[in-house]
């Protein structure tokens, strides 16, 4: 009979969990096929399941989610949601509720999680800089103001995680790249590379963590840093890709985060041009450019690298194009819905989820056949983030 109190308490715990999931999910669950869809106008996220292609529940009260982004704890249970208003919210995906929430800045643009999962970093416009938090408690561990010139503070873009509790980010106003070593968060060390080019607007790190690439808005070209060098320096790649042509108006900044490295090639959006640039990551020379339907916003490689999917800025944002990487040709042009804002591949890439803001739906497409597998009704969906990001560097 000594076991009975234990049995009883175990039963109570199960009952409590069953309550939080509406009675149906007393079963233990994993998180590898979960994700979130941002409903930016409502300040809410919808928790989704990618195996069942289902909406599980909504978590509201997350503040201003225009340009929200999400990283995941390495166990895939918690989502860290970065809001425009500086809110950083830890959401339990299984219980579908807020665990912790801090207002950490006046204007924020996203974040990253350290490779060991212990630190979450937020990149901020106001006040310009990076703040590093304990992933468990959201206690502030380190404050890295992006000071330059006469004590001014730059807006921070292109924050990525690097091995060894390091982060890299770029300073839009200062034209610099910073590498922050937070191994000892009480004494963070920031190494700044100056003069990398004008107005870096976003960046990516290659899947091996070796190359950090910042796109430049203020000039044709990108800045690239080989992080494996003992003394990393910034080099210019694809300089002058515009060939002196007058750029088209850029109605929306492209995104580089969420790299499009497929095989030995990187696929990058051209600024002010209806082109995707192809660069050889062995030589960092341009090897091609692919004409596309509009100004690319996201250029994303399917996880196996066989395809690259591209969406576009207004007014061409009802289209999505598929590039076949072996032939480097556009092989399909899809119209999944009005105002396509984001795409996210399932972990192995057999399907892609596409948010169609003005049709208030998420369309799920088979990436091989391009047939629609399901559509889910979501109010003005924007970003889509799956927990598989937890296992990928630079996501």
């Amino acid at each position: 009979m000594a076991a009975s109190p234990l049995w009883a308490s175990g039963c109570a715990a199960v009952a409590q969990q069953a309550d939080t999931h509406g009675g149906a999910a007393g079963d233990m669950r994993g998180t590898g096929d979960l994700g979130v869809v941002i409903q930016r106008a409502r300040g809410a996220i919808t928790v989704v399941n990618t195996s069942h292609r289902a909406l599980l529940g909504e978590v509201a009260g997350l503040g201003d989610l225009s340009h929200a982004s999400v990283v995941f704890s390495r166990d895939g249970r918690d989502a860290y949601v970065f809001g425009r208003d500086g809110g950083l919210t830890q959401v339990d995906l299984l219980r579908e509720r807020i665990v912790r929430r801090v207002m950490q800045a006046g204007n924020s643009i996203g974040g990253a999680i350290s490779a060991d999962g212990t630190m979450v970093a937020a990149q901020n416009y106001v006040p310009g800089g990076v703040k590093v938090f304990d992933a468990k408690t959201l206690d502030l561990l380190a404050d890295l103001p992006a000071t330059y010139g006469n004590g001014r503070r730059s807006r921070v873009v292109g924050l990525v995680d690097l091995p060894q509790r390091r982060f890299a980010y770029s300073l839009f106003d200062a034209g610099a790249i910073c590498i922050a070593d937070c191994a000892d968060p009480a004494n963070p060390r920031v190494h700044t590379l100056e003069g990398i080019g004008r107005q870096p607007y976003d960046a990516l790190v290659t899947p091996d963590g070796r190359y950090y690439i910042a796109g430049l808005f203020g000039e044709d070209g990108l800045a690239m840093v080989d992080l494996w060098e003992p003394q990393p320096v910034a080099r210019r790649i694809l300089a002058g890709y515009g060939r002196g042509q007058q750029p088209l108006p850029v109605y929306k900044m492209p995104h580089l985060r969420g790299w499009a490295v497929a095989g030995r090639h990187a696929y990058l959006p051209a600024i002010g041009r209806h082109e995707v640039l192809v660069v050889d990551t062995a030589t960092w020379q341009e090897v091609g450019r692919i004409p596309v339907a509009g100004q690319p916003v996201f250029v994303m490689a399917r996880p196996d690298g066989r395809q690259v999917w591209v969406n576009f800025a207004v007014p061409d944002y009802d289209q999505v194009q598929v590039i076949d990487t072996p032939s480097q040709r556009v092989v399909d042009t899809l119209r999944p819905g009005r105002a396509v804002l984001h795409m996210e591949f399932t972990p192995r890439g057999e399907a892609v989820w596409i948010s169609c803001r003005d049709d208030h739906l998420v369309r799920i497409i088979d990436t091989a056949t391009r047939q629609t597998l399901a559509t889910l009704a979501v109010d003005a969906p924007s970003g889509i983030f799956f927990t598989a990001r937890a296992q990928r560097m630079g996501f």
Binding site: D64, H67, N107, Y125, V126, V157, P249, M253, H360
Partner: protein, 155 residues
């Protein structure tokens, strides 16, 4: 006077009516190569006249968009301008566009920036998607507190 100023100044004329397309054509016909220079000249001209108008307590006349078009413009500002300025217009890569942030900025200068962009910054000209009159309407709404999009009824 550079020829491009002619339609701009005509636009500012208190007796103008119904020649908006001429302004668009004049600005576009200069060609993309000189677009930045044109924009800069326009901005200076508009700002100068705006100061004069403000000093006289006058406001430039313009055509108010239809209610349906206003609704489309509100959505465009919240959603598309919101990419850089934030859906709540509190700023992002682009500056805040709240009445507090815009206090003291001449409407004509704002309209000019919306229509022609701001060279040297990521702000593009939106002349492919709205008219100068509509840009002026948007500027006025921004200055006084931009309308919210109507809440969507449940699907």
């Amino acid at each position: 006077m550079p020829p491009v100023l002619f339609p701009v100044l005509r636009w500012l004329s208190p007796v103008r009516s119904g020649f908006q397309p001429q302004v668009d054509e004049a600005v576009r016909s200069v060609g993309t190569g000189a677009a930045s220079a044109v924009r800069a000249v326009c901005a200076i001209a508009l700002a100068a006249v705006a100061c004069a108008a403000a000093a006289q307590g006058a406001s430039a006349p313009f055509t108010v968009p239809s209610l349906q078009r206003q609704s489309a413009l509100v959505r465009m500002v919240r959603q598309d301008c919101g990419s850089c300025h934030g859906m709540r217009l509190t700023g992002g890569l682009g500056p805040a566009l709240t009445p507090q942030a815009l206090e003291g900025k001449p409407l004509l200068s704002m309209a000019s920036t919306i229509y022609g962009g701001r060279p040297g910054t990521p702000m593009p000209g939106w002349s492919a998607m709205l008219t100068l009159d509509e840009a002026h309407w948007v500027a006025r709404q921004l200055a006084t507190g931009f309308p919210e999009e109507p809440a969507r009824t449940a699907p």
